[in-house]
């Protein structure tokens, strides 16, 4: 029973991080119809920023995360450019372009940070939750609280503000949004900016629990892709549930068979989801 509790705690903390990873990906996909294969590279760059700030300048968690989450915003213009200047067929071309972007970034990271694996590991404090009798580390708590706060903020933005409603309308149907007078170009830029910020925050957390390296972007992109495909674009609650389900499955598989089978699991899941509802997802994304 002890192990089941611990597995759940681990899965919830991991699932919270995955929600944040997928949220950025999903926002960009929803607003611009670009499935951003360089999303992992954005996350990794912010991870490097958090690592350098934490390791070399002893910057604390809150300030370090706040600063490093801004870094992926430098990619905002290029994503906007890809979404507006992709020739026909747009979905395939935008995939190829973002794939090209990830190749460029991977090589730049190799030159800038070398191929070394890096993790921002601080000895965590352990807390025991009395009634549930489970142990939670400070890293897990930080992951859950930060991710969930960011997700809650975005949820409130989408639900309670006019800008958020306009964003939702843009994600759901571009043409209808345009017809009712929503400035969809600006909304696309805003959604892409929010997506970059989510990726940045996710990166600053990711480096605290996982090793990052220049070629590590693909596994991050795969996780974000899987959860987004499973949940559908721009659906925060479904993203959260999908991320937790995936994190539970991943934690259980890692516990029984070892973490080395994780990528196989996510690949098989993605293929299954694509076979199940790939056409439906892309059919919706073919609207201008």
């Amino acid at each position: 029973m002890f192990y089941v509790d611990q597995i759940l705690v681990q899965a919830i903390s991991l699932g919270s991080l995955y929600t944040l990873l997928a949220l950025g990906f999903s926002l960009i996909f929803g607003a611009t119809r670009v499935l951003n294969l360089a999303h992992g590279s954005f996350v990794i760059l912010s991870g490097y920023a958090a690592y350098i700030l934490g390791k070399h300048y002893n910057v604390g968690f809150i300030l370090g995360s706040s600063l490093s989450m801004l870094i992926p915003l430098i990619f905002l213009p290029i994503i906007v450019l890809i979404s507006s200047r992709s020739p026909h067929p747009r979905e395939t071309i935008s995939l190829i372009l973002t794939f090209g972007l990830s190749l460029v970034l991977q090589n730049c990271y190799m030159a800038a940070f070398s191929a070394d694996y890096r993790i921002l590991y601080g000895a965590p404090s352990l807390y025991e939750i009395p009634i549930l009798r489970v142990t939670v580390s400070s890293t897990q708590l930080a992951l859950i609280i930060t991710s969930m706060s960011a997700v809650a903020l975005l949820f409130l933005l989408f639900r309670k503000t006019m800008v958020g409603k306009a964003l939702r309308a843009t994600i759901q149907n571009n043409e209808a949004a345009l017809l009712v007078g929503i400035p969809i170009k600006e909304m696309r830029i805003l959604a892409t900016g929010l997506g970059c910020l989510s990726a940045g925050l996710a990166g600053s957390l990711y480096v605290r629990v996982n090793y990052i390296h220049p070629a590590g972007d693909i596994e991050v992109t795969l996780i974000a892709l899987l959860i987004t495909l499973f949940a559908g674009r721009g659906r925060i609650r479904r993203l959260l549930i999908s991320a937790w389900i995936f994190a539970i499955i991943e934690t259980v598989v890692s516990y029984w068979w070892g973490a080395k089978w994780r990528d196989l699991l996510s690949s098989l899941f993605i293929i299954a989801v694509l076979l199940w509802r790939g056409e439906e997802i892309f059919e919706n994304s073919r609207e201008k």
Binding site: F99, V104, N107, L225, D263, L264, S267, L275
Partner: protein
């Protein structure tokens, strides 16, 4: 197609490898350029059916491992091992056929991208059979650089012949119809699925063969190397750059970009020289989407 001129050109290219004055370093760069050009041509045979793959590294890696395991464990002759490697890639292509081949456009691209992870993770974790992430060493075969040059030129020539068929034969026109509008092609009686499957099998076979050649040339295989994104990206970039609808497009793409990479990027940016291929994607798609050979009169 002016056959005598083409044949003469290929004879001259072949003879270049026998000229003793040509330094081995030059031949080495040219051999690799022809190697990448062949890979790109093999990839393009499949992409002419309208299916863009980001997962050909799976065939490449399986070809390399098929050769490595048969040559190192079972003592089968190296050349037979290479053939077995290529057949391993074809077996994986059969898996594609029964699973992801029904997908189209973006879904297909994504499915191919993630399908590379399946053989990579399995090979990485079957330690006792494949030596896991440590890879397999001592695979180099006793063939000099001049011989490799000849092999690569012959491979490129053979692939160009097949490429010519997929572009200009009756089958090629069928493929064009499939690429432009699959439903209409089906309505006028083009065997869409048959053509897609044929191109996939041929493409995977030669991609696997390239993987086996690569393992035999450099002498070792590692999952992180032979299943890397680099081998999925290269054929795509080179074909786009050269021109996907031109007979020599992928090969010329390989000859130009690889040489540009080695002669310009490696001395200037030794750590990040491969970024060139990513930049080439942007430049090609935004400025000359039909490839550089589209500028020539005949295309």
């Amino acid at each position: 197609m002016n056959l005598p001129i083409h044949l003469l050109a290929w004879v001259i290219i072949l003879a270049f490898g026998w000229i003793p004055l040509v330094p081995e370093s030059v031949l080495s760069v040219l051999t690799t350029a022809f190697f990448y050009g062949s890979m790109a041509t093999a990839w393009n045979i499949h992409s002419l059916s309208g299916a863009i793959s980001l997962g050909h590294a799976a065939f490449f890696g399986l070809g390399a491992y098929g050769f490595a395991i048969t040559a190192s464990k079972y003592g089968i002759s190296s050349w037979a091992g290479m053939l077995i490697g290529a057949l391993c890639a074809v077996v994986y292509a059969l898996f594609w056929m029964i699973s992801i081949n029904r997908l189209r456009h973006g879904s297909f691209v994504l499915a191919t991208l993630v399908s590379v992870e399946i053989p990579r993770v399995i090979i990485e974790n079957l330690d006792s059979f494949t030596h896991g992430s440590a890879g397999i060493m001592n695979l180099r075969i006793p063939v000099g650089i001049r011989e490799w040059y000849i092999i690569m030129v012959i491979l490129a020539g053979l692939l160009l012949l097949i490429h010519h068929q997929t572009l200009f034969s009756r089958l090629g026109w069928g493929l064009r119809a499939v690429r432009d509008d699959e439903r209409t092609a089906m309505a006028v009686g083009v065997p869409v699925e048959f053509l897609r499957r044929c191109t996939l099998i041929v493409s995977s076979f030669f991609m696997g063969l390239c993987g086996a050649f690569y393992a035999a040339m450099i002498g070792f295989v590692e999952p992180s190397i032979v299943f890397s994104l680099h081998f999925s990206a290269m054929p795509l970039v080179l074909s786009l750059f050269g021109g996907r609808e031109h007979l020599y497009g992928p090969l010329i793409g390989g000859l130009i970009l690889y040489n540009l990479d080695q002669l310009l990027m490696v001395p200037l940016f030794p750590e990040a020289h491969r970024a060139l291929y990513g930049i080439a994607i942007f430049i090609t798609i935004w400025f000359f989407p039909k490839g550089i050979l589209a500028w020539t009169k005949r295309s």
